[in-house]
């Protein structure tokens, strides 16, 4: 809104950071703080379950899902590059791949949950269940939100309603996606490495 003021055009430049970026950084800080508590709760309750099933009985590290999610961080960077170079076709391609990788991750998580439920692990079964589902679920819900945003951008792009002016939105969404990825690294370490051994 600063621009609408007519009198401030003097020699020295007055640069301020863009609002969306500051906003999304705040969001990331908030979310980190939220996740920390869930991670701490998980760590605190490792080995404190009174009955089974225990992590080492039922958990297998979701390597494939992790590869999908982590590589999607790469594809979204490629998409961003394409966007900046104004190559919308290439942008759509990589953006779409990103979406797909995210979706695969989500499906795999669903499969894992199905497996765990079959093994008799519910949120109310023991402390492992109590802490596992909320933590992984919280992350998954962030993936869902991410997919929603990615999908919306994809659709707008497909219908040619996206152009250079939306660079900021694209960038901000990709920051968010990187954050979701980074959180997964933490969750993975907590649940599948620290929690099992």
């Amino acid at each position: 809104m600063t621009e609408s003021s007519p009198t401030t055009r003097t020699a020295t430049e007055w640069k301020l950071p863009p609002i969306p970026k500051v906003g999304v950084l705040c969001l990331i800080a908030m979310e980190s703080s939220l996740f920390v508590i869930f991670v701490v709760a998980y760590l605190y309750y490792i080995g404190k379950s009174l009955n089974g099933p225990l992590p080492r009985d039922v958990l297998t590290a979701p390597i494939l899902a992790s590869i999908c999610l982590l590589s999607s961080s790469g594809t979204i960077v490629l998409a961003e590059h394409a966007f900046k170079a104004n190559e919308m076709g290439r942008f759509r391609f990589f953006w779409g791949i990103t979406w797909l990788l995210g979706a695969v991750f989500l499906v795999l998580t669903g499969v894992e949950w199905k497996h765990l439920i079959d093994e008799g692990l519910l949120i109310s079964t023991n402390l492992f269940g109590s802490t596992y589902y909320p933590l992984v679920g919280l992350h998954a819900s962030h993936v869902v939100v991410g997919l929603f945003l990615l999908g919306a951008v994809f659709l707008f792009s497909a219908t040619r309603r996206l152009d250079k002016r939306h660079l900021m939105s694209v960038e901000v969404i990709s920051w968010y996606w990187h954050f979701v990825d980074a959180v997964w690294v933490v969750v993975f370490t907590t649940v599948y490495i620290l929690g099992v051994y």
Binding site: M1, S4, P6, T7, R161
Partner: protein, 275 residues
């Protein structure tokens, strides 16, 4: 420059409110009835869509006409005079104090006072208690557990470690307190060194008195408090007087930072705004 007749502001909208209501109902439904949750969900979705349309593809604006009465906006020009401080070059604005005592004077003053204090304490030990090592060992007991629990006999014996520690502790505190005095002196009113010389030992002694049980039980048991305070007073008065007589130095604060750093080439704001 052309004055715009109107200004654009974000357009009013109730969608955020609808989303908030929806979210509230969604949660309230958990404790009342699922139908309320459902209503909340629907409201929330509708609100979200509405909100989205408010900002996409571009944020909706409302154009507000600018009022004409410019006088109502202008703050009063008070025309008050500002009292000038007499010292310094820059007039009425300063950071206190304008002149300071050099740190070195604090250290030297502290050492001087420290010597006096040591002499007084040892004299007391020699004359009253019958051993010059008495105060030395008491002081060293802060750091030497063996002395903390020692009986008076032992405390009167010479102990080389005790002497060493006592000297170190005494040197350090003397210089430290001296530096503090030097920093604080310019802030006291007239007869600064007397104020500082009387006030600071009293505060210090009180603090020490209150905590010595924990820090140094031996001292607590045997020290003579009146004499302790007298020694402190001696120290602070001498150190304060010495510092007071030292040459003060200007803080140069009325000059802009660039000048103070000796960078004449850099221009101050004032000059900048002149062109």
């Amino acid at each position: 420059m052309p004055e715009k007749p109107s200004i654009e502001l974000p357009a009013p909208t109730y969608w955020p409110m609808v989303v908030a209501l929806g979210l509230t109902l969604l949660l309230a439904g958990l404790i009342t009835h699922w139908l309320i949750s459902l209503a909340g969900l629907l409201l929330g979705i509708r609100g979200g869509v509405g909100w989205f349309h408010d900002v996409f593809p571009h944020a909706r604006h409302e154009t507000v006409p600018v009022e004409v009465d410019e006088a109502a906006e202008r703050p009063v020009h008070t025309g008050r005079k500002v009292t000038h401080l007499s010292q310094g070059v820059g007039g009425h604005r300063v950071r206190y104090p304008e002149q300071v005592h050099p740190i070195s004077s604090g250290i030297r003053g502290g050492l001087l006072g420290g010597v006096l204090m040591a002499v007084m304490a040892v004299a007391y030990g020699w004359i009253v208690m019958g051993s010059p090592w008495w105060p030395v060992n008491l002081l060293a007991a802060i750091a030497l557990p063996s002395l903390q629990t020692a009986d008076p006999e032992t405390l009167m014996q010479f102990s080389s470690l005790g002497l060493l520690l006592a000297i170190l502790i005494h040197l350090f505190t003397s210089c430290f307190v001296g530096t503090l005095l030097a920093a604080a002196l310019p802030m006291f009113p007239r007869f600064a060194f007397i104020w500082a010389g009387l006030l600071s030992p009293v505060i210090w002694s009180a603090l020490f008195y209150a905590t010595v049980t924990f820090i140094n039980p031996a001292m607590d048991k045997y020290v003579s408090w009146p004499w302790f305070v007298v020694c402190q007073l001696g120290y602070a008065l001498v150190a304060g007087y010495y510092i007071k007589t030292s040459q003060r130095i200007e803080t140069l604060q009325t000059y802009p930072i660039a000048r103070r750093a000796g960078l004449e080439a850099m221009r101050s704001r004032k000059e900048e705004s002149d062109d």
